[in-house]
Symmetry: C2
Subunit: 183 residues, 2 copies
Amino acid sequence: MGRAEKKRARQERLVREIGKNPFLKDEELAKKLKVSVATIRLDRTELGIREYRERIRDVAEHSADGTGDCGEVLDFNLFHDGISILNTLDAAVFEDSTVVKGQAMYAYAENLALSVINAKSALIRVANIKYLREVNRGDRLVAKYEVMRVKNSEYVVWVRIKKDMSEMFRAKFNLSVTDEREI
Amino acid sequence: MGRAEKKRARQERLVREIGKNPFLKDEELAKKLKVSVATIRLDRTELGIREYRERIRDVAEHSADGTGDCGEVLDFNLFHDGISILNTLDAAVFEDSTVVKGQAMYAYAENLALSVINAKSALIRVANIKYLREVNRGDRLVAKYEVMRVKNSEYVVWVRIKKDMSEMFRAKFNLSVTDEREI
DNA sequence: TGTTATTTATGAGCAGGTCATAAAAACAAA
DNA sequence: TTTGTTTTTATGACCTGCTCATAAATAACA
């Protein structure tokens, strides 16, 4: 292996390792990849990977924040529909695998459904979920969400998530708004 | 207010504030409660509340671990049913409120459903969710889960969650096992 | 008034970094 | 073999958000 390929291979591995376990410190990564801590830091900055503490905070905010992750919003029409790109890099996965848990997909869908009706807080009455295909950590997903019906403060919102044009996940929520966000 | 009551009141408030938002640093807490940072630190150690970074890590680990929270398991019969007590103290809530998010309830239910069929990893095909009543952070919930049907590796599992005898949440999962855990 | 609980301040030390800089090593091409 | 370039490693100053120990200031109460 030439110098450049070695570097590339290592950086790829770095991404995988941190993707698998964001709770690895530079020192631990250095041991794993058998290079110096300085190299790990260099690689991280080249790859735009944040430091240990910030990664941890991201994961925590993700799970605890009030607003909820709606991904990168490409299109959005309040009370109508929207399109988002979801990055599954820090979604919860099953032990020793890269398979994203249903609960992570559900959380995405719920966040999107709430966002499209501008609900800071809403009671979900019913949720019907269909998992069509296995999602893996790192998959780049496109979510389309749409308000299908409104009656009083009762909404029906659909969320459909695709990867490479093929549908992975579908959800239908019946929501009743209790508290609208000022626009 | 005497000296001791003032202290007690402040410490109670401290617990509430951190409970509501674990992402508060001592400096921010000091401003909120209008005391010095030193006092906050003293209060924290007296109350056994861990420091900012450790709190964040706790939240992150909680959300990122592969196993999933199944609460305190009171009764459990593999492939049949079980009963758990769920502590909602660190469930995700809506902004500025104590209302537990649907996604937190869903995650509990999914974890329970997976545990009862001994599935380290499983594909959920369908989930039907009914939210009957609002759950608040701190509510002590009792969850009963039961395998209703099995055919090949296809399971139907029900999860019902109650608080004080009244039903709060109901879920039905259709799961297909892909990887059984050794017993 | 002094005594005592409570609060605040100060300084050293730690983990896990950033950033800038420099030296060393590895390799490719002349 | 020597030179040039990339890649890796090392070093030191600085940062945040703490802990821990110690001391000083403030306030409550008898």
